[in-house]
Amino acid sequence: MYLRKSMSLMGALLAVIATGAEGRTLIQNKGSDTLVNVAQAWAEAYQSVNPDAAVAVSGGGSGTGIAAMINGTVDIANASRKMKDKEIKMADERGHHPVEHIVGFDALAVFIHQDNPADTLTIEQLAQIYGRDGKARKWSDIGITVPGCKDEIVVVSRQNNSGTYAYFREAVLGKEKYRNGTLDMHGSKDVVDLVEKTPCAIGYSGLAYATEHVKMVCVSKDGQACVSPSVETAGNGAYPIARPLMMYTNGEPQGEIKKYMDWIMSDAGQCIILKKGYAPVRPVQCN
């Protein structure tokens, strides 16, 4: 009795599942945690632009997106770093041909606690703090006294598959490795949250993650005047720790994917990335 009833019930359910509706074009979009909030905003806004297409957004990091592109499980991979030659070769071998599109620029802001009196830091000082061979382990090593802090610098970094982690290392440390004993956070927001609560801390994250409870330092490179991170200084290349944000498509985009990419590059799409705190690829007028 029980068995027959439950079996027929199961059959009915399976039938319902099998007849699920199709018809809408689904665009798979995955990758960079830096870009994920912009990608989500694009997907949300695109609903009303083109109801025939739907964009599914997932995060996980640039590495996740690039791996998915190599495996052919996404239509558009988001990355906050360029694909390595080795990765492009691996994709080619599997019959996928990644094409790069720069969709905006990101400035990595260096965050310190509000009570920290420092206003300017040089790239060299940052390398002293973050590098394995760096000498700065205490705030006094770079001539700063932080109220409410016992002098030891709390160095906040990111987990090593993050594009932000890779880019900050490239821009600040060059070939040098990160020092041991950094606190590696699993999201840009976590970095800012931690710095907000820790007087001794220093951390880096995308400009978009800034809050009014943390301080962003003005960064100078090669003895030049310091530049504060902002949408303008990221876009015009003045800020020393700014990078392009990329979307990779499999081959030149076609059909619905092309429509979506074109819309992202249009004024409407670029205004969304601006609103999220990143720099657009060209000056746009937004209301």
């Binding site: 199961m10 399976l14 699920g20 509706a21 689904l26 909030n37 949300e44 599914a56 957004v57 499980t73």
Partner: protein
């Protein structure tokens, strides 16, 4: 007659001491449950509304509701149950009713125990390799639910086996003596008498499946989807992943939102559990021994 000896008195003291000690342990166990529920209700309660439950997220997921995640979790759990319950019950029936005590059965038992011990993130990687890439299901409800089903299979098998073993042997013998076959006995006597125990396994599975994040993160759950899933080949949002996303990945989320999501997840599991428990109590009332 009997004097209360010093030894006796000491024994009584020790007795009281341990009684109190164990009672404290029990209270200590209940405490986290109360604190968690109270925090969720106080911090997340105010945000719960009809709109929160039945609309999609808006403004970069900092406002609006959680409908796609709620529906997604229901999909994931239902499809996982559809796969693991028949499979798990069938396996348990074989192991308890048919299998002899030989090396083959022992190997299977060992495999089930090991499957239960595999960390969920390993199941996730297996799911990506097997269902997403090899079987080409893509990141979909199907791939995610199959991963969840494999992960929770041991729970169903173990619970079912125990409840089958609890059906008195005399029931089977009586049935066989009437000339019934093994299958007739299982279908008419053993399974109906074991249903309440099987449900216990299902309850445990539902709770675990609804809460898991790692196995679905790579196999089928999306950060954001602008529509509700329509078939098992669609991706889906899920409450557990949504909770992770709004608490760690999105800037500017109001503080109550993650608590609200957590409260909905916990309430959903509690409701499902209470329903099955009520059903179990009803069935137990009809038990014949």
């Amino acid at each position: 007659m009997f004097e209360i000896s010093a030894l006796n008195q000491r024994n009584k003291k020790v007795e009281r001491l341990f009684r109190t000690l164990f009672l404290m342990m029990v209270l200590l166990l209940v405490l986290p449950v109360i604190v968690i529920l109270a925090t969720l209700i106080i911090k997340g309660g105010p945000i719960i509304s009809f709109e929160f439950l039945f609309t999609s997220p808006t403004d970069g997921m900092t406002a609006g509701g959680i409908l796609p995640a709620l529906i997604g979790t229901v999909w994931l759990v239902s499809v996982a149950l559809l796969v693991s319950v028949p499979l798990g019950v069938a396996a348990a029936v074989y192991l308890n009713e048919y299998a002899g005590n030989n090396w083959f059965t022992r190997v299977i038992n060992l495999a089930i125990i090991n499957l239960a011990g595999v960390p969920s993130i390993v199941h996730a990687l297996f799911g990506v390799g097997a269902f997403v890439i090899f079987f080409k299901f893509g990141t979909s409800i199907l791939a995610a639910s199959l991963t969840l089903a494999i992960m929770t299979l041991p729970v169903v098998i173990v619970a079912t086996r125990e409840s089958l073993a609890a059906v008195p042997m005399a029931f089977r013998e009586a049935c066989w003596n009437m000339g019934a076959t093994r299958w007739q006995t299982i279908r008419r006597v053993v399974l109906p008498n074991a249903v309440s125990g099987i449900l216990t396994g299902v309850i445990l599975e539902v709770s675990r499946t609804a809460g898991e994040t790692a196995p679905i993160m790579f196999t089928g759950a999306a950060f954001f989807l602008p529509y509700l899933p329509e078939s098992i080949f669609d991706q889906t949002m899920a409450l557990s992943l949504h909770l992770f996303v709004v608490s760690t990945q999105v800037p500017g989320v109001p503080e109550a939102l993650p608590y609200g999501v957590a409260l909905v997840l916990v309430t959903m599991v509690l409701i499902m559990n209470s329903l099955s428990i009520a059903f179990r109590v009803y069935l137990r009332g009809k038990k014949k021994w």
